[in-house]
Amino acid sequence: MQAYSELVKDHFMHPRNVGEIAEPDGKGEVGNPVCGDMMTVYIKVKDQAIEDIKFKTFGCGAAIAVSSMVTEMAKGKPLDQAMKISNRDVAQALGGLPKNKLHCSNLGADALHMAIQDYLDRKAGKPPKPKSAAEELAGMHVEPGHAHAHGKGEKCYCPYCDLEVPSEAPFCTNCGQEIPHEH
């Protein structure tokens, strides 16, 4: 595994903050197995700061390392600061990721931001989402031939240059690399 740095490998082999929080103040979920990775983040909030944070991830080595790193970065941080952690920050903190793995880093900060937003929404009295994506996907069977049938509102990213691409695009509109969807 030469493609991963020692730091990435360390976070993958010994991930920090794995698990669930029984009654979280906020929960964020991104990705789905169609795209390759999925991540759930749970947070406990105290005094407008992240008191505790846990994650569960289905994904490759990079996705797990990113999950571990983003939870480490967010732990103890005030919400407004945690909200500013970007995907790029996470990738940088890991000392970089292989180019075709950059899309994995998009999971981390997105899931964190979603968990914080969920907390803010709950506080504002907005109703929680009826069913989580993980629950839906656990029983989901995607028919062959609908290979690019992504979940509602899911985004896909170019595996080479990290930019969001339309789910139907055969080539990345930015770097020109082929996006291996089935058509």
């Binding site: 991930p15 390759g36 991830t57 289905f58 994904g59 995607v142 291996p180």
Partner: protein, 386 residues
Amino acid sequence: MAPIYFDSLAGTPLLPGVQQAMSDYLARNWGNPSSQHQVGDAAGAALEKAREQVAALIGAEPREIVFCSGGTESINHAIKGVAWAQAKKGRHIITSNIEHNAVLRTLRALKLQDWRVTSLDVDQYGRLDPAQVAKAITDQTVLITVMLANNEIGTLEPVAEIARLAASHKIPMHTDAVAAVGVMPVNVKELGVNLLSLAANQFHGPAGAGALYVKRGTPLWPLVDGGVQEHNKRAGSQNMVGIVGMGQAAELALSSMSQRVAHTRALKDLATAGLKERIGHITINGHPEHCLPHLVSVSVGYIEGESMMIMLDEEGICVATRSACAAGALQASHVLISIGLDFADAQGTLVLSFNHLNTKEEVQLFLDKLPPIVERLRSMSPLWKG
């Protein structure tokens, strides 16, 4: 400790006898077999010996063997060469949905040049129904290309049956036999194909050496244009060291074929039984009978393949994965989706491919190491509710 290597589809260790033949050749000869003088003649003799050795492995005539740079070139040559040679006759090609990228992307390139391609679906085991092929044939069809053995799930396709069908319509038939030749008995006469692709690195020969079997009378243009090498079918001075190694590897494979098949099949059975016994929520992919003797494809539910692969690598065990991430792609394997796996299962797929140098002890060690890895990754997975 030397790593345990279960990734023979990616390449097999050079056998000492093959290394010896190659280094002996390097030490003695550097000539060009096309030269008409004595230095060239010596190289020419080595070339023709290798051609006989490779021909014997697949039951062909030596003249029907065209050496090239490997499986990918062989496949490109067969498909493009037959298509170009018959462009005025018709522009329709039939294939299956589970071919290797060398086939799929070659066909994609031809599609851009106005060839039409019919790609046929397979059943849950990855088998193509010859009746589907019969239905797809038109008077414009100039080539049928169906792989002999799938490189991800090991399923063997009914190539002989499809070839008979093709012959009855006078349509040339190509088979990508890269994953099968040298691993199990393969005979071009029994298969009845016009073209067959093979690569040396699948049977303990060097990477960078391969061949295309071309039955006499098959319409075929060169892929690489230039001189008259390889009976005008593949120009360029031959990769002699690679070819000599390929020839030696072919001879060794042929002479020990039955032992190799028995050995790898025993490892496959041991691994398959052990996986089923020790890990829940798994699927063994591929056809239970019509399959490669040395390949196990296992989809482990609720987790992703690359994570398993890296953790096994840390334990000194090398396997392959068909997960999207490891392949640098967003999406799961087209083969696994074609046989009806859902995306999460397809992402969690490992492919083990053995060779006769592997041992039962190695497989046992793998069977000991994998369950705790699976357990660990499942405990991290949001999909796992165990």
